[in-house]
Symmetry: D3
Subunit: 238 residues, 6 copies
């Protein structure tokens, strides 16, 4: 079930806050990647299928500086094979004491057309990554090379990232609030619902800015709100 261009486009127009509410309505409460933030908030909303990379704690003898001479090393392979439009999601075991990646790899990923990168650890060269027009999310900047603490071990398996379950192909959406994981099977439905919710929220915030109370408006328990909203949609063409 690849992510359709239509759903991708819709998800670009909604917020992670709205998406978590849509997921909550379906009983999904654990899809938010906890405690990550965008390095470049101006890079726009990130949308793409998850392409996963799993790490384990680094054993010193297996992680000398020379390991990257092996072109099949999972970290390098992930960077070179992550499909265009996808998001590379790294399970760094919520450990930002060493980097998950740095500016060279993230730039390469961007050049290859990926939609973004997420780690529940940290990136090095954070200022350079923040200067890219590319959505990247992490916990905090951190200089030490990944070999210090992380061994990339496996690609394309279900992982945890920031306490959220991420299955390959799930749709990752990221904005200033953080990153949410939309299960692949419901991505279309969630996108549709979120677009509807967003229209209503945009209507509501406009009314609130005009001075209206939220009572009866949000949620729209007052029937007049429903009529007002219908009128607004027509005016706005939404």
């Amino acid at each position: 079930m690849p992510l359709s261009p239509d759903t991708r486009a819709k998800l670009k127009t909604v917020s992670t806050a709205t998406l978590t509410t849509a997921l909550f309505k379906r009983g999904l409460r654990s899809q938010f990647v906890q405690d990550v933030r965008p390095l470049n908030p101006a890079a726009g909303t990130m949308v793409g299928e998850a392409y996963t990379l799993r790490t384990i704690p680094a054993r010193e003898d297996l992680n000398p500086i020379g390991v990257f001479q092996n072109r099949a090393h999972p970290q390098r392979k992930a960077i070179e094979e992550c499909p265009p439009g996808a998001v590379l999601v790294i399970d760094s075991r919520k450990n930002a004491r060493a980097a998950s990646a740095g500016a060279i790899l993230v730039t390469r990923l961007m050049m290859r057309g990926a939609a973004g990168i997420v780690t529940d650890g940290g990136f090095r060269d954070a200022a350079e990554i923040a200067a890219l027009d590319f959505p990247a999310f992490h916990h905090r900047p951190t200089a030490p090379t990944n070999l210090t603490l992380h061994q990339a071990i496996e690609i394309g398996v279900p992982i945890g990232c920031g306490d959220a379950p991420v299955f390959p192909g799930d749709v990752m959406v990221g904005d200033a609030d953080g990153v949410v994981v939309v299960p692949a099977a419901i991505a279309d439905a969630i996108a549709d619902e979120a677009v509807e919710m967003t229209a209503f929220e945009d209507f509501v915030i406009g009314r609130v800015r005009e001075g209206r109370s939220i009572l009866g408006l949000y949620p729209p328990t007052d029937p007049a709100t429903t009529e007002d909203f219908a009128r607004w949609r027509k005016e706005q063409g939404r």
Copy 2:
């Protein structure tokens, strides 16, 4: 003991750093709301009486999406009833894994004339809130709806916020360093003292920028400092 306009005005001109020192001198060491920051540092110093909202962990059966249809729900009620000039202070049990509120509610609170909002959890729609000319303080952005983890349960009771005790009516002051809780009964005295301290600190930082040592200057153990300060106050009209 409502907050007088005079004290409110004075507190707008002093820093939370100065206030914590004034409180420390009176033996109050626990009045700083730990680990919160302003979403919009440009919104200026926040000053207002605490209007409190308490939450408990959410029990799933009591927190379906429909609960907000009840206009008496404490979260919505708090937003609609927080007095103008007051600060809504939310005890979110230092848990930012789900939001304490979002842009619609915070905008409504601003429109109603509140002086600010503080949570020791997080807000969703953080970028929108950061764009408001309204002081809001939290631990970090977080997308999930509050129903996921927080049930608003009580208004107007003493609470903890970021490990600080907050009694309704205490004066909340916030700036780039964070938020301090000034007990209502001593707000006038603390404001007066802080204004005096601020004058001295402004004098000191000017002298330090001119190259003076802090020895004898800060604290003013050198009698010449006292004379110099008196002269400066006259010149500055402070």
Copy 3:
């Protein structure tokens, strides 16, 4: 083994990420000061020898507001005696619940020609410090006076800072990723190596921006990369 002007100059041109890799190659994995960030990222790379200040938890009877009347108080003494070109490094036991210092002391330190200041706790007056053209690193802003929780106890001894060992005279280097501690005895060699590594990384990132794969390029397992790099160095005069 004082820091030579040449090594200081070289270290200003390299990143903490590169330095941690150079240290990693020598088996040094613990030299990164964990979880601190620059208050003013525009202040440029910090380089200077460590001048250390150690704190212990404050005992209330020993830390009334009057202690700073003693000109020999280690905190004040450290500010007035830290050598020009050095970095004041404060062991605050990773506790940011009270400040390690504020704007007056940091400004004085800057005026005296220090190269920067680092604490694994927090600073008060953080916005003022952030406005200085002076490298300062901390965990987070925090208003309470240092007397609340920290007693400065000793100057010029080996300390821990953010889980890194810091010996007086070690070379502290800080940038947007954080702060790294380069042992004094290897500072020259590490600086030389980092300059070389930086040239190569700059070359690599240029090629990556042109669309090249990292395979064979980074690390340069493809002999063509080595030739390409040699050519680039000649062109760039590096």
Copy 4:
């Protein structure tokens, strides 16, 4: 809806593990008081309705040693008024740096016929409390008087305890694994279900000790298991 003697008796025979599973089946995933343990594991399973006490961070001027001379102080009042058969549940904001109570108060509570006491902080005089034939649960021993950090503020309100929501009257059950909160309205049904589940689990563990595989047995997907269990129940009279 007071706790019936029958339900109380049933709950004494089941484990918190079984109860959390029964609650999970109803969508209740947050009813376990995280990270508390029994001081005296030999005191048996604790069962009783929650009688709640809420604390906030202590403000120094409001918490001198003399406060307990006030007989209406909520901490003392809670000890003297907690009904026989009830469990005193203290919201200590998961802070064990000062005590929630000590041996004198816990002994008094026991003498008054309470069913137990739970805090998500710690008790002082822990060894003495551990020697009582009385179920008490906390996070860890801690000597400092509660006045250091905790101000008891309110009795009989919904609270959080160890991240679980506790409403007055909910049924607290505690054993070696910790404490679970059974919502009052479903206590009878949960007790019945847990008794059934316990019978099955006892049957299963017996078969496992005889060498049987869990496949087909647990859960009983093999129809023979169902027959075997029916036979066992008849034999055991359960």
Copy 5:
């Protein structure tokens, strides 16, 4: 490289403290499973090859109570297929807020001849597991069913457990201090070295109990110590 009976026997006679020192001498500093403890310290030293089970955060729709009806569910499969003499090691992402397993599964594992079980989360039915003559290690007791937070996803892959890297086949050794991971390839050599070190430590502790100073004795920088030890070995037949 299966674990030889000889190496297994040797490892049963040495401590995890001694083993971590032997590993440290080879540059391996990260092999200790942090913050786990034995449920039954009397069960003796655990030795066995790692048989690994990996979990990810539970997604609610994929983890209803019915999942265990699938006999191929990785948690159940792991219990039924873990080889005799092996240790089941569970990567629970250091999350003890829900259980990794309970008494029925652990009992079955014991009956099948496994050498032990380790999780960096917690077990439910902890008192029952503690009563088994079977080495089990966890962080703390916890009642909630694993489905609440953990989805078992993969068997036989490299994992992290308590911040240590665990490859299938590595030798897990556990005692009162916790659990250490000995890489399979060096298990024989480490066992030999640890046996030697243990002989020396036993000699040393005997001398210390007789009143000798550790200077010159431990380490044996005094040549007399070496002679004394040689004599002792002969006497002891070690």
Copy 6:
């Protein structure tokens, strides 16, 4: 101001709970060593002057296994020079990921007549240490050698231990609740006061066990309590 035999004897008869209250009355709220516990609760109350050892994070090149061949290494020196009757207090920066010491050193310390040992990290060989008739306190067992993370750097300086300030010569008292630091200058007065308080508490707990309410009894706001207590003291000869 050495610890007098009389004060030492008195402190052996009082609890850390009582002592923290006596300290609290003098405004000392930070003297409890947070989150340490006795390895052998049966070893009795520990009382002795603090003899301090400070550690910093280990730098790999300075901490090979050979360092202990240097008899002047601070860790070994501390063990051999800690005065009889004193308590060795180790500032391990609250890091129990590697050991502060093991059974050989602790046994030697015991043989030399020390009164106990405290670390805010952990001990290795914890079961052996727990079997000694010697008060030892730590956070948790941990196998890795101290060289992995801790470098002992200085003896006889003020330190932090478990967030408490410890000056050499302060009186350390430890029991089942943990360890409290009594400033040397007030040790005699605190001991006297604690003995008095203990007599009253013993009286109170007796009355509570007889069924008396705490109201009027604890604190003794009812004058009859004072008379009753006077009578009890006479009877008990206390």
